[in-house]
């Protein structure tokens, strides 16, 4: 399950454990609770292509097995609900990208076998754009998109 970088952490923790068992427990526990990893390159990429590269997903295959639920028109670009369902077998990771945002990559979720290929969250969007869900399943990358129109609310 879990992606390679995560596995590295666990392996590292295991090696470290040869020295003190207690510390290992602590390490593993904290890496379980909150992964230390944060995809800096991906999150700071200014173009979607770079973000995909940073995910290791250079050229994902468009798949109808990924369903995105999001409004056609969002009343408030600061709170755009997005839910992603991946029906791909062995879904390992779901990332959400807003193509035209200054930094397109918004979130990456490693999903273990203990949770369904489903995440729901809310994102900020500066302008009308495609929202992409990029899914890693069985080691390969797939993607789907949905356009969300952003409007100026109220009396302007």
């Amino acid at each position: 399950m879990i992606d390679p970088s995560r596995r590295t952490i666990l392996k590292y923790a295991g090696a470290f454990g040869a020295f003190t068992m207690g510390l290992v427990t602590g390490l593993v526990k904290s890496s379980n609770a909150v992964a230390a990893q944060w995809n800096k390159v991906g999150f700071e990429s200014k173009a979607m292509a770079d973000a995909l590269k940073a995910l290791g997903a250079g050229n994902p295959v468009e798949s109808k097995d990924i369903l995105i639920t999001a409004p056609d028109i969002a009343e408030n670009g600061a709170v755009v609900p997005v839910a992603v369902v991946s029906k791909l077998p062995h879904t390992q990771q779901i990332s959400i990208i807003a193509e035209k945002n200054p930094r397109p990559l918004m979130a990456t979720f490693d999903v273990s076998s203990g949770s369904e290929g489903y995440v729901s969250t809310r994102i900020k969007m500066g302008e009308t754009s495609n929202v992409w869900a990029v899914v890693k399943a069985d080691g390969n990358f797939f993607a789907a998109k949905k356009e969300v129109k952003i409007t100026v609310g109220g009396c302007g």
């Binding site: 994902p60 369903l67 639920t69 009343e75 408030n76 709170v79 609900p81 998109k145 609310g153 009396c155």
Partner: protein, 271 residues
């Protein structure tokens, strides 16, 4: 960029149906409905209820007192159903008060806070953590969740407030020539994409009275009826409505009485 995969079809559609409320909503015709539904299901305003509860019971202010002795009309500390009867006449202040003005009274009299200080901070800046008054107002109202609005006009001052509120609802002024009714007097009206609640209609006005305080998505804080009214006057280009003033209480009395029977369900979620 992703390329097309030429497989997989109906499976996705079939699965969709099993995915519960949010994805099923995607079938609806209204392009805004999906988003509204998804946001309303998980309302960050709920995070304010707990905060309000803590503030209510905490000993605070120069007099180091909690609000547990505050009488919202049903007796000291009795919150269940209190909001359903507000605004109402209070003999001790000899005034008709809405929830927020009553809360002010208690914060001043029981806790010793300075009235002007509280009023100044009552409506929090957008994008802040919100004010004490906002959290308290939501908490107190939430204690009437599931109950029906039941405002009475049995006291003369309540009648007078109601009639003044009605008058104000229709009173046009300023450079937009607006009264409330210009925007809220018809069905299915919108300012740009935002629905305008039809307040001269029973169902419409009930929606108003049952959903404030509400989490305001664009401001990221909980907003109260006092804010809603002041924001309308702002858009109307009128001077600033004084917090907890009689104009605000009159309009609230009018709307709440019109909305009697509405089941309170707060926090609401507004775009």
């Amino acid at each position: 960029m992703p390329r097309k995969q030429n497989s997989i079809t109906a499976l996705a559609v079939v699965c969709l149906a099993t995915w519960g409320a949010a994805p099923a909503m995607a079938q609806s015709g209204d392009p805004l409905a999906v988003g509204r539904q998804m946001l309303a299901e998980d309302n960050p305003g709920e995070l304010w209820i707990e905060r309000g509860k803590t503030l209510f019971h905490q000993k605070r202010g120069p007099q180091d007192a909690s609000l547990e002795q505050c009488d919202f009309g049903l007796g000291p500390g009795k919150l269940e159903g209190a909001t359903t009867r507000l605004p109402r006449y209070f003999p001790d202040t000899d005034r008709v008060q809405d929830l927020e003005s009553r809360l002010l009274t208690c914060m001043v009299q029981l806790q010793g806070f300075n009235r002007d200080d509280i009023v100044k901070r009552a409506i929090s800046p957008a994008g802040s953590n919100g004010s004490d008054v906002e959290a308290l107002t939501l908490y107190i109202t939430s204690r009437s969740n599931g109950m029906k609005m039941n405002v009475s006009l049995s006291h003369q001052k309540e009648y007078d407030m109601y009639k003044a509120g009605e008058y104000l609802f229709y009173r046009r002024s300023g450079q937009t020539d607006f009264a409330c009714v210009q925007c809220h007097g018809g069905a299915n009206k919108r300012i740009r994409l935002q629905d305008l609640i039809h307040m001269t209609d029973k169902k419409g006005v009930q929606e108003v009275v049952s959903t404030w305080p509400a989490y305001r998505g664009a401001h990221f804080v909980v907003r109260t009826m006092q804010w809603r009214l002041s924001d309308c006057f702002w858009q109307m280009r009128l001077p600033e409505l004084t917090y907890a003033s009689d104009v605000s209480i009159a309009l609230t009395t009018y709307l709440h009485y019109q909305g009697n029977g509405a089941v309170i369900k707060v926090p609401g979620f507004k775009r």
